[in-house]
């Protein structure tokens, strides 16, 4: 179990984080750039000393500012994978991997390094220098180097950010395997919620130094605790003012025009959240049929095809997106500049505090 408590000033804001990561579990901290996520990793690794904090891994206490315990990074058995992998340029791949292996002969070290490289499928690159390796190859060598030390915790800083889109898929599978096999607590930071959802067993959304919400990716997407989380997890967010209605629903007057209803409770300034895939498009001005309570007249700003889906950029006048099938988009002959109606259910309309 990795236990992290940190409190420190970071420039414009204060970092205030408390996390627990059980063994074999991966907690992904997701947030925008500058939110302080990398700083959390650095504090755990010992590369940054916070004003106050307590970090322990299992029985070992790595940091306790109250008792003036502050182990140097080399004394903390954690494996850190840097964003651009930080492979030593003057050493060959196997030497990089063998860097943390001491107390044995050169031959034994090389053998162990080769074993590890084999596990990651890059044994054939053992004598190559990092300069000539591709992004994906570098990631694997970096992972091999990190696990060579048999760390008690894994720290990963934007592990997929340095890769191009095509390599990212295989690399994330690779990473998943490593995280599962390692059996130690892992803390991962990323600015991409999808990545967090893919790699993390649990996700924590962090902004301006605080963890706003923690849970599984599905929980966060389904029940975002704030507009920020909703936005970050990819939902549509519209702002307006809510008041309770006699029909038991909450009616929201949207800023700039339009009205929505929601089955959730709310009062005053609210943000309304719904997922693009929950929105249906009908021709403009068509009468209401069916149970969907919410209907907005919108202007279509953009039409983007993604495989068998189409993402529509809409303005109500507040901007938002909807996703429908390509087939339907063709049938309705949707083009930018057209007017249409966007409808969805009040039961799918979430209200979040502003």
């Amino acid at each position: 179990m990795l236990h992290v408590e940190v409190g420190t000033r970071l420039g414009a804001f204060a970092l205030d984080v408390a996390l627990e990561v059980p063994a074999g579990c991966c907690l992904a901290l997701a947030g925008p750039s500058g939110a302080g996520k990398s700083s959390v990793l650095r504090v755990v690794a010992g590369l940054l000393t916070p004003e106050s904090g307590r970090i322990s891994c299992g029985e070992e206490v790595w940091l306790d500012t109250d008792r003036r315990v502050d182990l140097a990074p080399e004394r903390r058995p954690c494996g850190y994978v840097f964003q651009d992998y930080a492979l030593f340029p003057h050493l060959r791949a196997w030497q990089n991997v063998a860097y943390s292996i001491r107390d044995t002969s050169r031959r034994a070290r090389r053998r162990r390094a080769l074993e590890l490289l084999e596990r990651f499928g890059v044994a054939h690159l053992a004598d190559v220098r990092p300069r000539t390796l591709s992004g994906g190859e570098r990631q694997r060598v970096a992972l091999a180097r990190t696990v060579a030390r048999r760390p008690a915790a894994l720290l990963l800083d934007e592990p997929l950010a340095a890769l191009d889109a095509s390599t990212r898929a295989s690399a994330s599978r690779e990473l998943n395997r490593v995280l599962n096999e390692a059996g130690v607590p892992a803390l991962l930071v990323t600015h991409n919620f999808m990545e967090a959802a893919l790699l993390g067993d649990r996700v924590g959304v962090i902004d301006a130094g605080r963890v706003i919400q923690q849970g599984t990716a599905a929980e966060l997407a389904a029940s975002p605790g704030s507009a920020f989380v909703a936005d970050f997890t990819g939902a549509v967010v519209l702002t307006g003012t809510a008041r309770g209605g006699e029909d038991g629903l909450t009616h929201v007057a949207l800023d700039g025009g339009g009205a929505l209803a929601s089955t959730e409770q709310g009062e005053g300034p609210v943000a309304v959240s719904v997922y693009p895939s929950e929105i249906a498009i009908e021709p403009s001005g068509s009468p209401r049929t069916g149970s969907a309570q919410n209907r907005l007249e919108v202007e279509i700003l953009s039409v983007t095809t993604i495989g068998n889906r189409v993402r529509l950029g809409l303005a109500a006048p507040q901007p938002f997106t909807a996703e429908i099938t390509s087939a339907s988009a063709r049938e309705l002959a949707l083009t930018p500049g057209m007017r249409a109606s966007a409808t969805w259910k009040a039961t799918s309309t979430r209200l979040v505090r502003q």
């Binding site: 010992g46 860097y99 220098r129």
Partner: protein, 267 residues
Amino acid sequence: MSKRGWFPLLLMASLATVLCFLTLPIVAIFVDTSPLALLSSLHEEGALEALRLSIVCSAIAVVIIVLVGTPAAYLLASRRFRGRATLVTLIELPLVLPPAVAGIGLLAALGPNGLLGSRIEDAGINLVLTTAGVVVALTFVSAPFFLRQVQSAFEALDHTWLEASRTLGASESRTFLAVAIPTAGPGLISGLALAWGRALGEFGATLMFAGSFRGITQTVPLAIYQDFSTDFTGALSLSAVLVAVSVALLLSVKLLSGAEWLGGAAR
């Protein structure tokens, strides 16, 4: 000629001027007398002694500078602390000091009447008018050349390499030796070459602090100065040798800094 034409021409003219100005005196040294006369005057005893002194003293100075200066430069490059900028300026000061001022400074600090003069005497060490004094003078004027170069080489390092080393279980000292030094290699070597070149050419501070005496303190530049008034050919040949040694130094720097085995960390 189109209106665009004058600027590239100006650039070329500047380069041509610089080239001529810098290379002409050096070329003239080799052209002014016959190679035979050059070689024969080199064989005079004074010349060989001066050469030996120059090479030995500058080598010792360089070793001291590298051993003490590398960790010092590393500290300056890796930490931010109050007064750091002032420290850096202080260390760079000898760079802009005229050698004569350096000589006076050394006398005022380490001479018999100097600040530490009596303590040095008590320890039984004599620096003025001795070969040790030459080494001291050379170290003083050349150290900043090395320090500056090495400090920026360390600063230019990707700090994540150093952090990665720590997270892999290496102490700060192991990180310094196994990662920082190899990856800053080209910068270290060019700093070494600069410092060595400066030490070989040092004149003013040496003359003031250590004096000029054949076999003990008369380095090549001092010998050239003395030869100049009586044996111009001798002065020329010594100058030619010094030029050759400096060229060899520069070339080896170029070769070493591009070397594969250093991992090509110089990007």
